[in-house]
């Protein structure tokens, strides 16, 4: 029960940070003078989606006690974490200059949260898999 709440709550917090962080905490770049959005804006939009997905998966893993279901949810959170990491680094990217706010603060913060999510839920998946087999 304790493990279920801790891991589920951890996923909810990580998901909230991924989805809401770029909008409120570590801000992305402002639109250009002509009103066009830069790449980092779309990365932020994609992170909202994947972050909310992690929130839902984390919430579900609190309520489901069946080990097999939790194992499936843990794998889903792990894979969503990889997706959250790929948006700013490979799939969409950000602004050209390293000194831009998105590249200096927002993307590093997203990278840290994504990597922690991946590492924690990889370990959680192994733990649940072993627990299921034992």
């Amino acid at each position: 029960m304790k493990h279920r709440i801790i891991s589920g709550a951890g996923a909810v917090v990580a998901g909230l940070l991924l989805s809401l962080g770029p909008q409120f905490l570590f801000k992305l770049c402002e639109p250009m003078a002509d009103g066009r959005w830069m790449n980092c804006h779309w990365t932020g939009q994609a992170e909202i989606g994947v972050g909310l997905l992690i929130v839902l998966l984390g919430g579900a893993s609190i309520f489901f006690s069946d080990n097999k279901v939790r194992l499936g949810l843990s794998i889903a959170i792990f894979l969503s974490g990889i997706l959250a990491l790929l948006f700013p680094t490979v799939l969409i990217g950000g602004c050209g200059m390293e000194t831009m706010p998105c590249r200096s603060t927002a993307f590093p913060a997203l990278t840290v949260i994504s990597v922690l999510t991946i590492a924690v839920f990889a370990a959680n998946t192994v733990y649940l898999y072993r627990a299921r087999n034992s």
């Binding site: 050209g96 000194t99 993307f107």
Partner: protein, 406 residues
């Protein structure tokens, strides 16, 4: 019976750690915190040193000559890439090259862009004379095919884009002809173009901002090299006495002054980080020694029983040291992982905080820093547990069980 026989020395150590998860977590957390700070402070220090070395090599000139009052601004361009624009008369090029001891001069023209299509922040555009240049060319990673055309640029290591891509400045498209190596200095965030292109960009900039166009053929700074028999300060003195210190309207900055101002800050930071690491190591060692002493004291009866069933003193000491070794290994790996996870992606932000050239070390150096941090963290935990473990080993088994004390 056969299962009991297969219960190994390593199993006892592992079971001891799992039996008290909170205690093990606290010990691992403490070692992780130590490793985090040791690795983090070493990585930041190393990056600052590498950045400063990179700047020293990157400057490539002995003297920097700028309009009077703009020495600090020019330093900002060199150290941080802070976009600025200022102008001086082109006649100074000939005047400076005629001074005794000066062997080569090359002009630069600085223009601060409004924005480009990659970014909504201004970028430093720098015009350079390809015929006399000795600053830009040595740092170009990919060779420039011939002479840069008016619509071609060379971008710093931190500017996005590959060779062949186009960047827009003041409504004009410029093709990236080459990219410079990453140096950790302000030039990483700069864009270089030939003098004619820079003058056109300066006029474009003035018309966009509604300001007066810069004077024809004007330049912003002169980079000068001196011969081996002269010193930068000596030649700077000669320039000042030849043209008048105040009357001339120019400032002569020896490159070593820029480096030394950075070096002073670097020495202070290195000292602070060294002191912080040393204090934390001693504090962690003391806390770990206390924790291990309390922990082993709590388990005195367990050790007495182990001695009474025939485990030797040496084996008992080894068991305690293996336990602390395992804890410190896990803790230091976790600490270094978290430290690297935080410091590597946030390197640009850290550079902005320190306001100094900052360049991450290569993979080999990173591994070396990680290994040293692990060694220091493990050493702290092993030394801290050594005293208590020897005390246990030397205690008499019967007395330990009977009196319940070490």
């Amino acid at each position: 019976m056969s299962e009991k026989m297969s219960f190994t020395f390593q199993d006892i150590i592992w079971c001891n750690l799992k039996r008290k998860p909170l205690r093990s977590f606290c010990l691992i957390f403490l070692v992780a915190a130590l490793a985090f700070v040791l690795f983090g402070s070493s990585l930041i220090t190393r990056s600052l040193i590498k950045g400063t070395d990179g700047l020293a090599k990157r400057l490539g000139a002995d003297l920097l000559i700028v309009p009077r009052g703009y020495a600090q601004t020019a330093e900002g361009i060199l150290l941080r890439g802070s976009p600025s624009a200022f102008y001086m008369e082109p006649e100074w090029l000939e005047k400076i090259s005629g001074v005794e001891g000066v062997t080569a001069v090359s002009p630069h023209l600085f223009i601060a862009s409004l924005n480009s299509d990659c970014c909504s922040v201004p970028i430093q555009l720098i015009g350079f004379d390809q015929d006399t240049d000795f600053i830009v060319a040595p740092w170009i990673k990919t060779s420039v095919p011939g002479i840069l055309k008016d619509n071609e640029i060379v971008v710093g290591g931190a500017v996005a884009g590959r060779v062949g891509d186009t960047l827009q400045f003041f409504g004009r498209g410029y093709s990236i002809a080459a990219k410079m190596e990453y140096t950790g200095s302000g030039f990483d965030a700069s864009v270089f173009m030939n003098m004619d292109a820079a003058r056109i960009a300066a006029r474009d900039c003035a018309s966009k901002m509604g300001a007066d166009a810069p004077p024809e053929k004007s330049i912003s700074s002169i980079m000068a090299l001196i011969d081996d028999s002269s010193t930068p300060i000596g030649v700077a003195g000669r320039i000042n006495s030849a043209f008048g210190y105040v009357k001339s309207g120019i400032a002569v900055v020896p490159a070593q002054n820029i480096i030394s101002s950075v070096s002073v800050s670097l020495r202070m930071l290195t000292g602070s980080f060294g002191a912080l690491s040393a204090v934390l190591w001693i504090a962690s060692f003391s806390i770990l020694a206390l924790l291990f002493s309390a922990m082993l004291n709590e388990r005195r009866q367990e050790f007495g029983i182990l001695r009474s069933v025939g485990i030797s003193r040496k084996k008992l000491i080894a068991m305690v040291l293996w336990e602390s070794g395992l804890i410190s290994c896990i803790g230091s790996v976790v600490g270094i992982f978290l430290s690297a996870l935080l410091l590597m992606p946030f390197r640009i932000y850290i550079r902005e905080i320190f306001n100094m050239p900052y360049m991450m070390p290569g993979f080999g150096q990173l591994c070396a820093i990680a290994c040293i941090s692990v060694l220091l963290s493990v050493a702290a935990a092993l030394l801290a547990s050594l005293l208590s473990s020897v005390k246990i080993g030397n205690a008499d088994a019967y007395r330990v069980i009977r009196e319940g004390g070490l």
